[in-house]
């Protein structure tokens, strides 16, 4: 609580966040008395990404691809197994707990389900004041109250909301409370994990617009994690597509739709329904066969090759592609250029059996490391 003004080599570059080779592996243990580690779920397995200050980085992928774990690991809510997270010049992975705590003021999170991420027994004022107290912001009650009312105003909630409890609000308003809780500390980075997926479409749009406005006003940097490609593309400057713990493509958001380079991105783009019959009727649909393989036992080589309609007999199955710069995009595919030029044609893929849990006959327990409930 002492050195709130934590800052390293500030503003040496335009990047607020630099993530290098980040890995989060959860051990799979077996045995009753002595937990034997029999394997690892590689939720995040070597991710590099950079978020410029004041910009929005969108992370998309299907459930189980590790996007939420990546967001949590970035904030050190889940301790990374390896790699570096550099926030404004400060290396977070090596920071002692008390200094990390004070850094948290500058990076906040918005959660998916506003009902379960707000304490039902706390009124809005108490929810909002908690973070201020923990970080010693505001001299006294009135000063804090002042900050809180300003924040409420910014997220479009009325003043009378202060004395109310979460259950008295609608879903959209609850999400506004969640946003207010993140904003009240004056953070620079906000990690929003599925910020609108629990909301109705008409409310989704309100919250998306609110996030947009807040960014314009406060110069916030966002990492938006969502499974809804249309939402992510709408709010992001750069979109990263994740598949089985790794980025497969990263591109400016309009480029991603116009010219997806990775086969998985293509399939993903073609699978998202567009609310326009004319487009829907004309669109080419790439149907992927089967399900996401288990992250405990990911395929060798390119992780997508088991479902890839463009998979080639060479390289794909045994050489893991790294992200390469092609034009404005970064793509992890050996054959991206050839696929794009039409030199390699798609072929039919038969679905492989994928177990929802662990692979094979050995039932294992995936133990998530302790997750701090509160991180103010």
């Amino acid at each position: 609580m002492t050195d709130v003004e934590e800052s390293g080599a500030t503003g040496q570059s335009g990047n607020l966040v630099e993530v290098r080779d980040l890995k989060v592996h959860f051990p799979i243990t077996r045995g009753v008395l002595f937990d034997r580690v029999v394997g690892h779920v590689k939720a995040v397995d070597g991710v590099d990404l950079t978020i410029p200050r004041g910009k929005t980085y969108g992370l998309v992928g299907e459930s189980g691809c590790g996007k939420s774990t990546l967001g949590r690991a970035l904030l050190q809510l889940t301790p990374p197994t390896g790699g570096q997270v550099n926030f404004d010049g400060v290396e977070l992975t090596k920071l002692p707990p008390n200094r990390l705590r004070s850094m948290r003021r500058r990076m906040q999170m918005i959660f998916q389900d506003p009902m379960s991420s707000l304490d039902p027994r706390q009124n809005v004022e108490s929810i909002l004041v908690e973070g201020l107290q923990a970080h010693g912001i505001g001299a006294d009650r009135t000063a804090r109250r002042d900050i809180i009312t300003k924040t409420l105003d910014a997220v479009g909630l009325p003043k009378w909301a202060l004395s109310r409890y979460p259950h008295e609000f609608s879903g959209g308003q609850r999400q506004r409370i969640g946003i207010a809780r993140a904003l009240v500390l004056g953070p620079e980075l906000i990690v929003a994990d599925e910020p609108v997926s629990a909301l109705d479409v008409s409310i989704q749009a309100q919250v998306v617009n609110l996030l947009d406005e807040l960014q314009d006003e406060l110069g916030l940097t966002y990492l938006v994690i969502a499974h809804d490609l249309a939402v992510v593309r709408h709010i992001s400057d750069v979109v990263g597509v994740m598949y089985l713990g790794a980025l497969v493509e990263e591109a400016p958001s309009d480029r991603l739709y116009r010219e997806p380079l990775h086969p998985y991105t293509r399939a993903l783009m073609s699978a998202v329904p567009v609310p326009d019959p004319e487009v829907e009727d004309r669109r080419e649909r790439i149907l992927l066969a089967g399900d996401l393989p288990s992250p405990a036992n990911p395929p060798a080589g390119c992780r997508f090759h088991t479902r890839c309609p463009w998979a080639q007999p060479t390289r794909c199955a045994d050489e893991r592609p790294v992200l390469r710069q092609i034009g404005e995009s970064r793509v992890a595919c050996h054959w991206a250029e050839q696929i794009n030029s039409g030199e390699i044609r798609p072929h039919k893929v038969t679905a492989q059996i994928v177990r929802p849990e662990d692979e094979g006959e050995t039932p294992g327990v995936v133990s998530a490391p302790s997750e701090p409930g509160s991180f103010v």
């Binding site: 459930s63 609608s170 479409v201």
Partner: protein
């Protein structure tokens, strides 16, 4: 004569000490054989209760009142006795639920859950049933079906579970299939697989499909006719293309304006509907959408708006509808199409009269993804900020 004719369906929940809730409030629609009809709306609009009422799955107890008629091939689904309903359900009318894990029995192998239907309705047993079940699983695209039959729901992935559920639903080749948010719990690539499967089933078997969803994108790709629901009533009914090309009801326009589109340019602000579903007016006091509507006029309040039928065979429940894109600037909204656009009582509106003719209704230029309101001649006050 349509396969299913729902007329004036209402479902009321009464509970002592609590406010009476009219979840479905006079919903009418019809479904032809081989047709895909969409019921679209946000949470609380009554779309799921409608499906439960049609399937006879609402508990028969005092306090839950189902009124109206649902004529399925000569039988009123809302009036038949339980025994007959059990015969119809699963054989002629089947349902696919949203969450496959909670609608499959976790302690019974998939195989027995499929053969159960075959035994009940088709009298198959033993090897014959197993063989048929394996064929069904194969038909819905489950690899290695014979092995799958012995497995339990938790051993299948989400997409496979939904396929198993579809296999159970189509086991008796029902004439009507009701799918309640069949892909909401699934990832997009799996959603695309399941939607494709449903399309194939409809095309191959001539089954009628009622698609209940909140996702206008799913509707755009699948449904022949779309009913937009709000607060328990149908506010707009149209064929697929006209609905998206020229939404007339402000709520439909608002919904379309709320969805970020994958093919839209970056930086376009969404135009959301202000307020939330909580801000409804009881239909008896006027239009339930009026408190959130940008086109609200005095006539919206006081009495419930009637369904209006236009010459293009589409209906909407609005006294001040969004004018169609190509129309000359109307002096007053109600006088826009005086000859064709009369206010007619809800019962008289039939959506099945000439559905084919509507397909070539004036479609806007292809490069115009923006909702009609933005191009409409009388500028609608749509520049609101989020409420």
């Amino acid at each position: 004569m349509a396969l299913l004719d729902v007329e004036d369906l209402s479902v009321t929940f009464r509970q002592r000490g609590k406010r009476t809730v009219r979840a479905v409030d006079g919903v009418s629609f019809s479904v032809d054989a081989g047709e895909v009809v969409g019921l679209v709306g946000e949470s609380g609009c009554g779309k799921s209760v409608t499906s439960l009422a049609l399937m006879g799955l609402l508990p028969r107890q005092p306090g839950i009142a189902v009124e109206g008629r649902a004529d399925f091939d000569g039988t009123d689904l809302l009036r038949v006795d339980r025994r007959t309903m059990r015969d119809i359900r699963g054989r002629d009318v089947a349902m696919i639920f949203q969450d496959p894990l909670s609608s499959l029995n976790p302690v019974i192998p998939i195989g027995r859950q499929v053969t159960e239907v075959l035994a009940r309705h088709r009298g198959l047993s033993g090897d014959a049933a197993r063989k048929e079940a394996a064929e069904l699983l194969d038909r819905v695209g489950i690899p290695d079906p014979n092995r799958r039959l012995k497995e339990y729901p938790h051993q299948l992935s989400g997409g496979m579970r939904q396929r198993a559920l579809i296999a159970i639903a189509v086991a008796c080749r029902p004439r009507l299939l009701i799918a309640d948010e069949p892909t909401t719990a699934l990832d997009v690539t799996i959603q695309a697989q399941i939607l494709e499967l449903l399309k194939d089933l409809v095309r191959d078997s001539g089954t009628a499909l009622v698609m209940i969803t909140h996702d206008l994108g799913v509707v755009a790709g699948m449904c022949d006719t779309v009913n937009v629901l709000y607060a328990g009533r149908v506010v707009e009914t149209a064929r697929r293309k006209p609905l998206f090309a020229e939404p007339r009801h402000p709520y439909t326009v608002g919904l379309l304006g709320s969805i970020p589109r994958l093919d839209a340019g970056r930086g376009e602000r969404l135009s959301p509907i202000r307020g939330s579903v909580r801000d409804v007016l009881p239909w008896a006091d006027g239009c339930a959408f009026a408190p959130r509507c940008d086109r609200q006029v005095d006539a919206c309040l006081g009495q419930p708006p009637q369904l209006a039928l236009t010459h293009t065979d589409r209906t909407y429940r609005c006294v001040n509808p969004v004018p169609p894109a190509g129309s000359p600037a109307p002096a007053s909204p109600t006088a826009a199409e005086p000859a064709a656009e009369g206010i007619v009582p809800a019962q008289a509106t039939a959506a099945e009269d000439a559905p084919a003719a509507v397909e070539d209704a004036p479609a806007p230029a292809e490069d115009a993804p923006a909702p009609v309101a933005e191009r409409a001649t009388p500028p609608a006050p749509r520049e609101e900020e989020s409420a």
